[in-house]
Amino acid sequence: MIFEPTALSADEEKLRDEVRGFLAETLPPDFRPGLGLGGRHDPEFTRTLAQRGWVGMSIPTRYGGAGASTVRRFVVIEELLAAGAPIAAHWIAERQSAPAFLRFGTEEQREWFLPRIAAGECWFSLGMSEPDAGSDLASVRTTATPVEGGWRASGTKVWTTNAHLNHFAAMLCRTTPQAEAGDRHAGLSQLIVDLADEDVHVSPIPLIDGEEHVNEVVLDGVFVPDERVLGEVGQGWAQVTAELAHERSGPDRYLSILGLYRAFVDVYGRDPDDARAAAIGRIGAQLWTIRQLSLAVARSLDQGEAPAVEASLVKDIGTTFEQQVVEALRDAAGGEIDPDGPTMFDRLLAECVLNAPTWTLRGGTTEVLRGIAAKALTKGS
């Protein structure tokens, strides 16, 4: 395991202060924080952030990014998530798509996409899940067949977050029938689909909180030119799994509850009884520790390691913690949940209770993550 305590350097601390200062100036005093990566989709905010160089930070300067380390990016996104800032517009583009272009993209793709992502002008969704392919992602049925100059893709994606607002999605498609490919992980490719194409039909799937930010996306023979294939044809599986160490262990996995926690301290923190003090303290202690674990993963990525198993552990620890926090604070506050209650705590608690189930599902369920970790732990037996 790579988990060793690591401190922020003076430079990294300075960056953090800058982000804090920016957020204090930019977010209104009565700002209602979003739940971490569930922050709102706000193109204006994304562009402002991009002007500071805080979108696509790890993109090299020659492609319009900041060429920053993983830890510097960690510092920035941690502050944004802690504040519940409206980061949804650029979130996937910057966390997932930009690194994928850097690793697997063609020079042409990098030159076209990366400067736009870094400018906060090009937003991505993730097109992996399908009605019959959830945890078992390799069973995707969306199929792309070769045509003159490119591919025609047909199939249905589901749970595609913000597909109705974003520009593109990296769609995992089968490009070689399984019977021919042999191995079920072979024959998959990632195609960059323009979500505004007339052969792409996006319709919302309302979730239990009534919000409509996830979608069904039907690809109705949409044409994808060859230059929009991400990486190698047939290497989709390897590409998708390689992204996981970067994606899994970040601060988005334990900061969804920070706004709620703050609001609890605001309402119940003056002279708390023992039970409330214990709840505040336990959450603080866990958060302090999980953050150090997550930062350790970021630091080790900068040192050239690929701590995939550690990343799975941190995601599992973090998301499980988030769910416990909601229940612990609800219990410590007492009373009924009132979505229209007078305090920010009331309203955020209602939102958290309705959203918490998704935290241990999206990006790999608890069970699947533990399966990955268990395999590594028991290697050899």
Binding site: M1, F3, E4, P5, T6, A7, L8, R20, E78, A82, L258, Y261, R262, A263, V265, D266, G269, R270, P272, D274, R276, A277, A278, A279, I280, G281, R282, G284, A285, Q286, L287, W288, T289, I290, R291, Q292, L293, L295, A296, L313, D316, I317, E367, R370, G371, A373, A374, L377, T378, G380, S381
Partner: protein, 352 residues
């Protein structure tokens, strides 16, 4: 910040030294006799018993983080000797008082003790290895403030007692005892001692938890039921993963608090967080490990019990998770909502 590599080296050196010395027979004998000379002597000879006590005060020198590295290895080995008490606790207490460091195992404890007219009055409860120690460093209230008194245990009345692991936890009656030496100490000495006590237990827990993980992974990989190793059953694998997670939590918490002490004393908030996390982890790790190892795991013979009995004991010594969480919660609440995140995200300080 002490380099991570140095800390790992200390951990490995102590682990190597203890591997063949802490055997099941030695552990049984230690529970019976209250002492394990064959474990203590090599640690003492190697200079590991006073790591964290300044050289100028007669110790081996080294930071709190180095002392905690020794303790992680000792926890993993279930070493039945007062390593935490001799170095980080009594040793540093005597150093702070400017008193000479006696040779041999030392201990200290908590309790309301006063010093009047040169004699002590009061009791210390559940003192680790009080009878086996050559001296007890007693923190007492003197006429002019806090003092440290050096006491020969044979001049006190000691009532036996143990923790779940059979480690001596004795009560010491100090009424009328005349200390060998007395020196005054700053008023925050008691709080600093309590912090080091809790941090020491967190480090021991982190070490023991890691060993529990190894033992449990090995056993469940070898135990075959329904034609395959039981670790292949997802429900059992889930226990293994949760043990690993809690082990990393305890270790990260303890190490962060230890490293954050730099060349000085550990920070109040860091220790409260580390103790709350490690004490909670101890119970979770023990429960999951026993569930995964079936009946064999609860036998006296199997390597798990010596560790889980320690986890169940250490988590409450110097304060359990609720006490530390409440303490931390009051501090965080007093800072108000705006200070919450800046305080918690301060992370590891690069020395004081």
């Amino acid at each position: 910040m002490t380099a991570t590599n140095d800390l790992a080296e200390v951990r490995d050196a102590v682990a190597d030294l203890l591997t063949d010395r802490v055997t099941p027979e030695i552990l049984e004998a230690a529970e019976r006799d209250g002492w394990a000379a064959t474990v203590w002597e090599p640690l003492h000879a190697g200079g590991f018993t006073t790591v964290g006590v300044p050289e100028a005060a007669g110790g081996a020198g080294g930071s709190v983080a180095e002392a905690c590295s020794v303790l992680e290895a000792a926890g993993a080995a279930a070493a039945p000797v007062p390593l935490a008490e001799t170095g980080l606790l009594a040793g540093r207490l005597l150093a702070a008082a400017g008193l000479p460091l006696p040779d041999g195992p030392l201990t200290t404890g908590t309790g309301a003790v006063t010093l009047t007219g040169g004699a002590l009055s009061g009791q210390l409860a559940r003192v680790a290895w009080a009878s086996a120690a050559t001296r007890i460093a007693v923190l007492a209230d003197g006429p002019d403030g806090a003092v440290v008194a050096l006491v020969d245990p044979t001049t006190t009345r000691i009532a036996p007692g143990h923790n779940l692991a059979g480690e001596p936890r004795e009560s010491v009656d100090l009424d009328g005892v005349v200390p060998e030496a007395i020196a005054s100490v700053p008023p925050d000495t008691r709080e600093l001692l309590a912090r080091r006590g809790a941090l020491a237990r967190a480090a021991l827990i982190a070490g023991a938890a890691r060993r529990v993980l190894e033992v449990t992974v090995t056993y469940t990989g070898e135990r075959v039921q329904f034609g395959r190793p039981v670790s292949r059953f997802p429900a059992v694998a889930d226990h293994l993963v949760r043990i690993a997670e809690q082990t990393e939590m305890a270790a990260m918490a303890a190490r962060s608090a230890a490293v954050g002490a730099g060349e000085g004393e550990p920070d109040a908030l860091d220790v409260a967080a580390a103790a709350a996390v490690a004490s909670e982890a101890a119970g979770l790790v023990a429960a999951a490990a026993h569930q995964a190892t079936g009946a064999m795991g609860v036998t006296r013979e199997f390597a798990l019990g010596v560790l889980t009995r320690r986890l169940w004991s250490w988590r409450d010594e110097w304060g359990g998770e609720r006490a530390w969480a409440t303490d931390l919660g009051r501090t965080l609440a007093a800072g108000g909502p705006d200070a919450l995140w800046p305080t918690l995200s301060r992370g590891v300080r690069t020395g004081t």
